[in-house]
């Protein structure tokens, strides 16, 4: 407790090593929480399956986040809808509370099963038409899935913004592959997408601090 006019870092009574260590640990907690704009540490009530986390982390670029105060986020989906349906599932994401960061890139990662015969035409809607979550549904993107395994499907960042509650629902709508004379290939209700276990779908979001245009001088 020094008076303002003196330099607080210019020495003073030295602390006992234990007391100094306890103080350092307390400072570290405070510094990390302040650096992450948190008031308390997160409580992990449902630990993520390690395999799902590892599979997803492999998708994040290795190394440090690019300069310019950017963030990368992976948000895992909770899947509702019949897992036996070829598609039509609703993926619900609980996104971080938006701060001043601006979303500039979004990809939805899905794992296609080896049973995928031919090309699957996949439409991704924001919102859902399911009874419990009825609301407007807008088409975000349309993709052709031709290969089994992890698929990165680009979504328009503008279509994902504006969700104050942080809860984002996407509905997958796909047409099973058809042969040349228009008949469905393979069993009509076969599953083509794997949404369980460590193949759980997730969103990969890239954020940049500030809104577009901030920091650039505006000339009138």
């Amino acid at each position: 407790q020094r008076t303002e006019s003196e330099c607080p870092s210019c020495g003073g009574p030295t602390l006992a090593p234990q007391a100094e260590r306890a103080l350092i640990l307390q400072l570290a907690k405070q510094q990390i929480l302040e650096g992450l704009h948190m008031t308390s540490r997160p409580r992990i009530s449902h630990p993520l399956p390690r395999a799902a986390l590892t599979a997803a982390l492999r998708r994040l670029q290795p190394g440090s986040v690019a300069a310019g105060n950017r963030e990368e986020i992976i948000s895992f989906a909770t899947v509702t809808g019949s897992s036996a349906a070829p598609c039509g599932s609703v993926l619900t994401f609980h996104l971080p509370t938006p701060r001043s960061h601006h979303l500039y890139r979004a990809r939805l990662w899905l794992h296609a099963l080896p049973t995928l015969p031919g090309t699957l035409n996949l439409k991704i809607f924001r919102g859902t038409q399911r009874r419990r979550h009825r609301g407007p549904r807008t088409l975000l993107a349309e993709h052709q899935v031709t290969l089994p395994g992890w698929q990165a499907l680009t979504l328009p960042p503008s279509g994902l913004r504006g969700e104050r509650s942080g809860v984002l629902r996407l509905q997958l709508d796909c047409r099973p592959p058809k042969d040349n004379n228009g008949t469905v290939v393979g069993a009509p209700r076969r599953r083509f997408l794997d949404t369980a276990g460590h193949q759980r779908p997730f969103l990969e979001l890239k954020m940049r601090a500030g809104e577009p245009g901030v920091g650039r001088a505006r000339r009138r």
Binding site: S9, P42, R43, L48, P96
Partner: protein, 114 residues
């Protein structure tokens, strides 16, 4: 910048490594395992003011102005950080999302007398 030795009373960098396990935070901070929480402490006699080089903190500019207008500033010279670097963190947030970010100015690399 010298790292602090017990016998060194002058401005120096005091190094501490904090392991997140020690904080009980390994469940939500995935990477790294810990980080350097260094800080600056020690005396800054007048002849060391402004050495080594200009301190990175904002009030070094104030001291420069004071020096320019009054060679003997009324305040004291402080031991402050002169260089810092960000800390890359991979962590789980309150909603279970995985976040990768760089927290700026988290690790003190060098100290000096402002």
């Amino acid at each position: 910048t010298p790292t602090c030795e017990p016998a060194t009373p002058l401005c120096c960098r005091r190094d501490h490594y904090v392991n997140f396990q020690e904080l009980g935070w390994r469940d939500w901070i995935l990477q790294p395992e810990g980080y350097q929480l260094n800080y600056c402490s020690g005396q800054c006699p007048p002849h060391l003011a402004g050495s080594p080089g200009i301190a990175a903190s904002f009030h070094s500019a104030v001291f420069s102005l004071l020096k320019a207008n009054n060679p003997w500033p009324a305040g004291t010279s402080c031991c402050v950080p002169t260089a810092r670097r960000p800390l890359s963190l991979l962590y789980l947030d309150h909603k279970g999302n995985v976040v990768k970010t760089d927290v700026p100015d988290m690790v003190v690399e060098a100290c000096g007398c402002s």
